[in-house]
Symmetry: C2
Subunit: 186 residues, 2 copies
Amino acid sequence: MTLQHVILGMLRRGPKSGYDLNKQLETTIRFFWEADISRIYRSLRSMQEQGWVEFETVVQDDSPNKKVYSLTEQGRSELKRWLAEPGKPSGSNNPFLAQLHFSDAISIQEQLHVLTVRREEVLESLAELERRARLQDLPVPLPHDALEQGVTRDKFSLEYGVRRMRLELDWVENTIAVLRADIDVD
Amino acid sequence: MTLQHVILGMLRRGPKSGYDLNKQLETTIRFFWEADISRIYRSLRSMQEQGWVEFETVVQDDSPNKKVYSLTEQGRSELKRWLAEPGKPSGSNNPFLAQLHFSDAISIQEQLHVLTVRREEVLESLAELERRARLQDLPVPLPHDALEQGVTRDKFSLEYGVRRMRLELDWVENTIAVLRADIDVD
DNA sequence: CGCATATATATGCTAGCGCATATACTAGCG
DNA sequence: CGCTAGTATATGCGCTAGCATATATATGCG
């Protein structure tokens, strides 16, 4: 059900088409929410049936017609309800940790390979996130008068992402070092 | 598909019943993987049909009969294949960050409430994880000769959990401070 | 005896997800 | 003209998920 709420969130500032929503998902939102484009269109349909959004067909000459969706009163109040509701502790499943947990069933060399690939991925994510943070001139951690200085909500999630990737990097490198030390002993 | 692989992992040391597997999930595994018990039984069935596991019915006098599952050759090689395969970057959806990202649509007081509840949850998780880490006398970060000293894979994931919860706590408290500072200014 | 709890497995239902694929219009290039 | 790329929406399919519920045996308590 959460994708529908994320869509409500993206529509809070004004109307957008499914295509627009997908663009925004692929750029900003994807750091904390991923969704297939087919899901977006299906969600919009069921949200419309529920009365959370309504659409207007916009005729364009330079490209195909589009459906531009906007929040209804109902949709806006559902958004507020969701935002104010403390969610349950997201244990959120972590496939990578799952692999590592059982990895005594493969050789240390193979374990190191998995970890090394992971390290590369983390480095890429971190670089991308730090690039975004720099674009917004965002110090980590945020100073206490951040809001006063015009810092908005999306910087909170950006900061979270940066911190998390730094942690992951540190942890992966530490784990690799532990495994390497084990090889040297043999 | 990953729950099936997690089950393969749990069976790697020896046979277990669905009920046993659920117990282990609820205690150790749940920090990185959550699953409903009904899913476990259904997964076991399809794994058996695929030839990854086989079972033996064990008659008990003190409780109902049970089906004890063990890995087949095929199952063990599938486990190894999965463990050695570097997974794709788990962007893993984060409902809490999603909420926060759009939370300029509710009052700062409401935002603070959500964050405060989150802080309580994180404190609980952290306490539980640190209790487990202490039980295993696990320093964070792990020393480089950790494996030599008998440290096994599950301590890696435990350490990850502890670090992650500490980060979450720090970040939540920082975010709360930023919002509070904003109230004081008004 | 009745009742609760633990052990043990299983099904029905609905929703959600990702991947592949279909359809169609427009613009630009050669 | 044919081709590719971008814009735009939509459906089919199969798998995965969680929640509720059914069923059955054994133990312990009052």
